[in-house]
Subunit: 787 residues, 2 copies
């Protein structure tokens, strides 16, 4: 034990060899992020609330002691998986380069021209990301369109055949079976092979851009699994997730260019991928850039933004070109995005000042409905986490939802009997179903079209196309079905269903308004459908700036920008009053250490001293190999970063911080046997190149795979040229908001806390900051768990 490492505790004075600590970060459990792992959590830190404001003057050593003794006592407790936990299984990305000697030497060798080449390569990669994203989006669009057509034909043929014979129940059965079987295939893939493909993908991307390493999220394999499961989501829900999957492309490109093998560059390219995905989905390049920035950016860099914008533009252009050719009108570039809301002609449909209070009222409604949606989905997700965590159960649930959707749809079609003249209508798949000849059943149409098409119909069909009863029933049913669907083990998002729900009640609202005002010309139901869609989506996901721009670009109209913004803002404010956004909720339910934009407002009372993890495992600048191996092998404290201190401190020299070295770097050093015998310290140790580190990126071998003989254990390793000699530090007195700002703005992974003499007293990592949250009763602290 004495050999393990020197540990420095709170004040740097009393060192002990206790293994228990919560410093550094832990390695992830290697399987998926699914709820299956729930319930196995161990609580590592006991105090749910720090006694805020009382800590500053108490004896610090006593405080440590108390923490340390409490830890083992609470450990055996089982903690239910809930949002008051923070999982230790997520690692952090390192947006800060390790500026060690090797890195600096390489950078100094590179001249100006070479830097220009690197910059050009970055642009090329962004262009490739854009092109590939566009192509994948095209592929998805074409497949979805054909599948929807196929489904329509099969169902229609059968209904035609059996309606004649009166065998309606058989039609229902057929439809339900069809739905359930396609969902089954998609669900099987997600549940058994690639859990990360579940859901819309947006929460995962949000986390990744925030700096949390989500396993598998940027792997090419994910894309391969996601693609086939995508078409099924058109049956019965949304279609956004499709394009989000293209986020996985950057990693392919990233393999090709060796220089870019670092978290910094990778995250930049993922940002570009996210922007390109949104851009292709909605034909909204600016909206894509803003999405990427709103969700991910920490430090806004102009050059990076331009590259992201470039990727977005290329992506929507590629999609546009290919789809234009596919639809036979080559060269005219008429299909800017997968999801096109149709053009609102602003000359015909402006808005007047009197309508603004109405829009705000719609925002309020959207906020309340969104909050209701999120609350229902929260309970449902908690239920799923507790009881439906086996893959086979998940598949069964998905199939059940599909069957129920079909049944509900069928019953509603049967009951509503809302027949509309087929002439002059723009619907793609009119179903006659119980209607007179020359008419179509509008409820059936709403269920049978892809949801994207239904949204467009609700926006643009002339007044009088929909029966208010139909819309009301449809809203009600679809609301609950969509809520049930989100979180299922299929690749299905919430974007399009939300828009559809909102468009339905918005149109209903518009119709009522026209009725109340006796058919005033300004009460165009299509306009209110648009506002309702914005309100509902805003109430659920709580995005504002990027969503405003996406809606503006998807409708090809800037006139409605102001009312859309008002509606989104109102929906967000109202919704936030009740519960948080759907994505944030799911991120929290996954116990992801997500860093928000700012530290909680009332956290000025906490200082780095109270926040940091301690004691910290430090390494000496010239360290025994055996010690390094023991530290790395220690499974109870899987630290990823180790402060390096001076080797032989004497009276005149304090053991001040000299640098920081990462687990991955140590592993590469051990693998290449970079050390010298203790008796022969003057020998030069083997020199490594930066390439050796890059080759190992991003999957460094585990320490167990590296064999170190007993003789080698006694050798010494000089860390000077591999450690980062200038890690960022904060003094113990710094307040939490200050520490947070530094950590967040620079995208750090490790932040060393030092005392007045530059001695290491603690370490701040992502989870130390993410665990403080503003709850209903003020500042609260989440518990850490291994779930």
């Amino acid at each position: 034990m004495a050999n393990v490492a020197k540990k420095v505790s709170w004040s740097g004075r009393d060192r002990d060899d206790d293994e228990d600590g919560r410093a550094g970060e832990t390695t992830p459990l290697l399987n998926g992020t699914g709820p299956g792992a729930a319930g196995s959590g161990r609580q590592l830190t006991p105090s749910p609330f720090l006694r805020i404001g009382q800590l500053s003057n108490v004896d610090l050593n006593e405080e440590v002691h108390e923490l340390e003794t409490e830890v083992p006592r609470q450990r055996p407790n089982e903690i239910p998986h809930n949002e008051k936990l923070l999982s230790l299984k997520y690692e952090s990305l390192d947006y800060d380069n390790s500026e060690n000697q090797l890195f600096l030497e390489e950078e100094r060798r590179i001249n100006h021209a070479a830097f220009r080449t690197v910059e050009i390569k970055r642009w090329v990669i962004c262009a490739m990301i854009g092109i590939l994203t566009g192509l994948v989006a095209c592929f998805i669009d074409i497949v979805v369109e054909n599948l929807a057509g196929l489904k329509y034909r099969v169902v229609k043929d059968n209904i035609d055949k059996f309606t004649a014979k009166g065998g309606l129940s058989f039609s229902l059965l057929l439809w339900a079976t069809l739905n359930a079987s396609v969902v089954m295939v998609g669900s099987l893939i997600v549940a058994f092979i690639e859990p990360v493909a579940a859901g819309s993908g947006i929460p995962q991307i949000k986390c990744y851009l925030n700096g949390v390493k989500i396993p598998h999220v940027v792997r090419l394999k994910g894309l391969c699994y996601k693609c086939p499961s995508v078409p099924y989501q058109a049956v019965p829900t949304g279609g956004l997730a499709s394009s989000m999957s293209s986020l996985k492309l950057p990693s392919l490109l990233f393999q090709i260019f060796e220089y870019f093998r670092r978290d910094t560059e990778k995250r930049d390219f993922v940002s570009a991928g996210a922007a390109a995905g949104v851009s292709a989905a909605f034909g909204a390049p600016v909206g894509g850039v803003l999405f990427s920035l709103e969700e991910g950016a920490s430090f806004w860099n102009q050059f990076l933004t331009w590259r992201i914008f470039f990727a977005s533009m290329i992506s929507t252009f590629t999609l546009n070109s290919v789809l234009s050719v596919y639809h036979g009108n080559a060269w005219d570039l008429s299909s800017p995005g997968l999801i096109n809301f149709g053009r609102f002609d602003s000359e015909k449909m402006g808005y007047t000042i009197q309508e603004i209070p109405i829009f705000i009222f719609m925002g309020v409604v959207g906020g309340i409905l969104g909050a209701l949606f999120n609350a229902l989905n929260y309970w449902l997700t908690m239920f799923r986490i507790r009881y439906i965590h086996r893959p086979c159960l998940q598949v069964v649930e998905a199939m059940l939802v599909a069957a129920v959707t079909a049944t509900v749809g069928f019953v509603m079609i049967y009951c509503s009997r809302d027949c509309q003249p087929i002439q002059g209508s723009s619907v793609a798949y009119p179903l006659q179903l119980f209607c007179a000849d020359g008419e179509y059943n509008s409820m059936a149409t709403a269920f049978f079209n892809t949801p994207e098409k239904s949204v467009v119909n609700l926006f643009h069909d002339p007044p009088g196309s929909y029966n208010p009863m139909t819309l009301g029933m449809f809203t009600l049913m679809y609301f609950f079905l969509a809520c049930w669907t989100y979180g299922l083990t299929v690749s299905a998002g919430v974007f399009i269903p939300s828009l559809l729900i909102g468009a339905a009640w918005g149109r209903l609202f518009g119709i009522s308004l026209a009725y109340l005002t006796k058919g005033s010309i300004w009460a165009d139901p299509g306009k209110y459908a648009l506002m309702g869609a914005a309100a509902q989506l805003g109430g659920i996901v709580r995005m504002t700036l990027s969503l405003t721009v996406i809606m503006m670009e998807a409708t090809g109209n800037v006139t409605y920008g102001f009312p859309i913004m008002l509606v989104l803002m109102t929906a967000k404010i109202v919704g936030d009053y009740f519960v948080e956004g759907l994505y944030d909720m799911h991120i929290q339910l996954q116990s992801v250490p997500f860093l928000h934009w700012e530290a909680p407002v009332t956290s000025h009372s906490l200082t780095a001293r109270e926040v940091m993890s301690t004691p910290v495992t430090c390494l000496r600048r010239i360290e025994r190999v055996g010690t390094v191996v023991d530290i790395l092998s220690d499974t109870s404290s899987n630290h990823n970063g180790f402060p390096v201190v001076e080797s032989n401190p004497d009276a005149t020299q304090v053991a001040g911080l000299r640098g920081l070295i990462l687990r991955s770097q140590l592993i590469v050093l051990l693998k290449h046997k970079v050390f010298v015998e203790r008796t022969n310290l003057n020998l030069v140790q083997r020199r490594l190149k930066l390439k050796d580190f890059r080759d190992a990126y991003p999957r460094f071998p585990p320490i167990q795979s590296i064999h170190v003989s007993q003789d080698e254990r006694e050798c010494m390793i000089d860390l000077s040229e591999f450690m980062n000699p200038s890690p960022y530090t904060v003094p113990q007195e710094a307040s939490l908001p200050r520490v947070f700002k530094l950590f967040r703005a620079l995208g750090l992974r490790h932040l060393v806390v030092v005392d007045n003499r530059n001695e290491v007293v603690g370490m701040v990592t992502r989870k130390d900051l993410a665990r403080y949250r503003l709850g209903k009763e003020g500042l609260e602290e989440l518990s850490l768990a291994q779930t």
Copy 2:
């Protein structure tokens, strides 16, 4: 001298009392930023190039010695005002709060509800900024419109009168006099009263958002002076600056709310003001936000962005409402911005893939023409700095330009004789001038309309409205006139003139193309006018993302987003190959310590040790009042931030860094006599409140105005509770890009460089970072001067 202060040099071992140093920042010379101050510079640091890469192993003390002895030798040299200088007169904003005990105590007292109130106040202020900006923009619009109408009528009446008599020369004289006299008034105001109102205001705002304190830029007085001078710019040049002036509004609001009296909040509100200004000018709320972010943001904060967006939206909405009412069509909100490019109907005018190479070619042309414009303006500006630096000369030059503009216009109108049928044309002020009845002179129209209207005409007039010769002549003349005008002592920008030049040659290009392709339907001259305008503006100012969105919003059309982006990107890349953007050029010519987005790529060879200012004047935690007064009174080194070190270091305790205190804080302490007698150190010194500091903000009294008696000089002052106990620090080994990133991302003003024992070895301020630049031959270092 021994009493002055403890100074810590490179290694912290050898202290000396030499007054010469370049640490900290200097107070500004209090008068304007005009070129009048040129030529009086003193060079403080001698070495134009650090011997890069050689420093790491030399004896540091020797290095210091060398620097110190060289300084006095070079001091008397006169340095011509050029772009290789960095002025010491600009101060930096402090985006980092001084987290001293008072601040923390206040923050800790404030509960959650109070923070919500603060947040609501922020929103209210943003709304007020938006409303006021909108109103100011309305006022400007109405005045400009009426003045343009007045001018048109006066000139037309006279021309009509005198043309009959053949007295053309009198008409010319009248026109020229009219132009010159209005310009004179504007010029007099700018030259003698408020120099900061000169130009477009964009470079000033860029600097402010970058963190440079430009005197007077956010003062209400500036707005008052700017407003009356604005109308004149419609005669003969641009009209953007108008709206930019509204940036000055935030400071008014800012006076009302006491809590917000810090640089952090002020800068946020100025960002909102900038966004609101652009938003009102172009009816481009998203473009405004992006402008503000592209030019200013360092750390992207979601909440801040939303507030800025809100202010933008409110501003364009206010403008829209008021102007709609003014124009008699209340409620219909048909005037989204001051400058409206008219709606491009995308159904009629899409673009095809074949046109993309043509657009790129136009981007190249725009880039070359833009570079030419900037190069010409550069020489002109150098000429002005050297020879036209007296205010009266500046006024004469402005009048000369106005008269020449009128003359050139007149001659061209006379020569061109380009008559167009008046029917079906949309021009507001058709001038018959030498044309047959029922026709108007299109050259005269181009000169007589406000430039905004001319741009719209060039975009939307049907093919055949312009004679190619007219367009060519107009482009040529206007190019040189605009180039001459920019930088004059009037409030005139470059935005609209650039658009006009670009629209003219773009339309000419479109006409030629239609001619060459024998009138193909796709070669619509209006579309090419738009692309030409984008190319020219992009080539001059080099904005991309925000400009793309501004153009998209101003044309109310998202279809052209992709080609506009391509054109802007190409223009930027081509232009950057020759010279930099106009705004950056002027910022550099003003020797402003402007921080770009990243450190120069090849600067990894420099470390904090080589970059920092040294020696640093440090204060002890408990310091003698006399020492503080002496340090503050020392005019040779007007430092603004002082590291605080431990009072009585002994063998076991090093004199490590304890905090950082600002000049402004020290002055408030002295003013309130916050000190105790040396013999009575146990007495509690007077307690101050944060309010005492805020009341003094932002104009702290000079040290000379504070009387300290001889007895008081012997008292002691305890800085512990007023200093920031956790200033950001970097180790000496940190590379320049690393230091730069920390400084830029957090918007710092002072960054302390410490050694391994946490002892102060140097200080990095804005000018230490801004002076490294990537020149043609690699890294170059600017000299510092008092200009």
